[in-house]
Amino acid sequence: MTLDERLSSRFPRIGLREKLLFSMLAAILFISVAIALVSRYILVSSLTNELEMRGFAIAHSVAERGGSYILDNDIPKLLVLIFDEARLRQRKDLVAYIFIEDQTGHILAHTLTHTLPENLRGNTLPPGKPDSIKLMELGNQEVYDLAAAINEGLYRIGTVHVGLNKRHIDTLVGKLRVAFLGFISAVVVITIILSSWLSKYITKPVSDLTRLSDEISRGNFDIPLKLGSGEDWDSSQCPAFSNTDLPCWHFDQSRSGQTPAETHRKCADCAFYRKHQGDEVVQLGDSFRNMVWSIKLYRRRLRESEEKYRSLFDSGPDPIFVVDCASGTIRDANPRATELYGYPREELLGMPFLDLGPEHNAACLDFFTEGGGGCVYYPKRLHYKNGGEPFFVNMHACPISYRGKQAIIIAVTDITGLIEKDAQLIQAAKMKSLGEMSAGVAHEINQPLNAIKVGSEFLSMMEEENLEIPKDHFKEVVNEISTQVDRAAEIIDTLRSFGRKSDLMEESVNLNEPVRAVLSMVRRQFELDNIHFDLNLAENLAPVRAHSNRLQQVIFNLVANARDAINDVSHADGGGDRRISIRTGSLDGLVFVEVRDTGGGIDEKDQQKIFEPFFTTKEAGQGMGLGLAITYGIIKDYSGEIRINSTRGRGTVFRMEFPAAHPRRETTV
């Protein structure tokens, strides 16, 4: 790791306060030092200049006045002259020495109390140059040696050397340095104080925010939020806080505009929303406060909503499942589901939803995995409890997102009780039909009984009277008796199966069978009433999924209604067209039965209502008006349709259509 990298990795770890302080200090120091250096340079150079000017002034003055003394070789006057110049008032501090040499380099006069050191004579004045300056050493002090030529006319006759103490400048520079150092220290101290105040002003709210947001991340929303000038909250001031139906328009701007027609409502003066007024730090504090309030508000709402739905889920009277779309397994189930299905919760979670209803659930899962949207209703599906006990349910399935995955929420209603009640109602209606049928059945059963009776008496009379019966006659009689017993037994069987309570499970039924069964019970009675049947039953009819005896009930109801309709318009002995036509067939995957009568038909307005319960056109006491309502219910149970086509005066056709049973389902059930 290079130094550069180390610095850049360490830099973010230093506190904001230190960063501020150090950078301000560095800036101030740099500026101060730069100013000090520049000032010192200017000062020292101008001082030196000044010194030189004064030095040269002295030198030139001595040279001017001393020329004549040199010509005269008047050494004493020359001495007086240079002593006068050197000792003149403050000059004595400044001037270290003055000496004069002639053209040959011979010292004529000097102000030193001792012999002139040889090294002072190093500053020689080149010919033609009026003066020269050089730094020399006198004793252990530095002096500037300034040389000026002494001219007489055009000729140089000697040189004046003036030595100026450098110490004088150094004292001045020293004073200056002290002053500058003091100034810089003062600036540094002020800078430290200022920057620490400023950084405290900035970093204090930032650290407060950090501390608060840490607390909030941990879920502690109850800490007092005292930021800047802020006072703590009083939640009761916000109507949206307690009423979760009310949107908060101040904070939740994203919701506005979602529904364009909605009027944009706002609290007149929100007790919590802070407009950003003040410097950036105050703005940050306000913005943070707004954010926390918004989070607090919506977190509370979320929690409330979650609690609401969780309690709905847990206390729901119906089982609810959350099923994963991809795997088809149960991800969650409410207590009612474990109770109804009889699986412990641990076993239910992770179980394939298909296991609860192998016949019907696949369609539901397929619908959603293939991207079907919206909620779907699946009525009357067969499910199994733990142990295999079947029961009927209605299912509502809606797609949801559960823990980040696509899932279905399935609410299940146990309708077994309802179906049993239905079955009881149907059974009761069937018993009523059975009563209505009994006269016809008596006719039917009387026939074989008569034949048997006559046959057996015939045999006994022949025996009593010792009459010879031809063998083929005898055989014929015995066969006939046996056939008639079978016939009676068959009628009783039909009757019994009609009266039997249906299973929950549907069976495959050829629609011709219930038609024949009903006719076997009532045909003779109808014919005695001069009502004839025209049968047109299709061969090789596809089976339908239904209960045979409920279909018999339906057909009996229709046939009995047809008879009543015919009896309404004509009398048994009065002739006229008294016919009931029954036709079966299949068309486009549907199997149909038509019952057509030659009665008076049904008014258009009544056609709408005849399938409603308690609607009857019969006189009071003649019927409850439940027959066709139950018929309708039974047909709907088998996913069938019933349609009525009636013309006043020309009879009525009831046409029932059922979906043909799927061959695959037939084999699996």
């Binding site: 009387n446 008569n450 009776k453 006559v454 015939f458 014929e476 009689v477």
Partner: protein, 132 residues
């Protein structure tokens, strides 16, 4: 020449049994399944006796009896019925009808009624005997 007896009943098995029985007793048996057929055979064959069920589709026994008695009042007609109310209906037709037997009847009754009717025994006597 055997006596011709016309039997009218819509129940084929019963009809068959009557045929066998009466054949065994030496009658020639004609059969019809309803009143209308009966009228046809009655007018064509002029039987000595008619045995008819009352309740039948198309044309019932009573309607038949009314037609038959209008053309040939001398031919005795025996009515059979399984229903009490049908018997009531027959009560007003005594003039036309020789006898009424109630189902389920015994063959002995039928045979006696047939023999009596053919032998011209007063129907009042048989009636008296039946309802005594």
């Amino acid at each position: 020449m055997n006596d011709k007896v016309l039997v009218i009943d819509d129940e084929r098995p019963t009809l068959k049994m009557f045929t066998l029985l009466l054949t065994a007793y030496g009658y020639e048996v004609l059969t019809a399944e309803n009143g209308r057929e009966g009228v046809e055979i009655f007018t064509r064959e002029s039987p000595e006796l008619v045995l008819t069920d009352i309740k039948m589709p198309v044309m019932d026994g009573i309607a038949f009896a009314l037609i038959a008695a209008r053309d040939h009042p001398e031919i005795p007609i025996l009515l059979m019925t399984g229903f009490a109310d049908q018997r009531e209906r027959a009560n007003g037709l005594d003039a036309l009808i020789h006898d009424v037997v109630t189902k389920p009847f015994s063959l002995a009754d039928i045979r006696r009624a047939v023999v009596d009717a053919l032998n011209g025994v007063s129907r009042d006597d048989t009636n008296l005997r039946r309802y005594a």
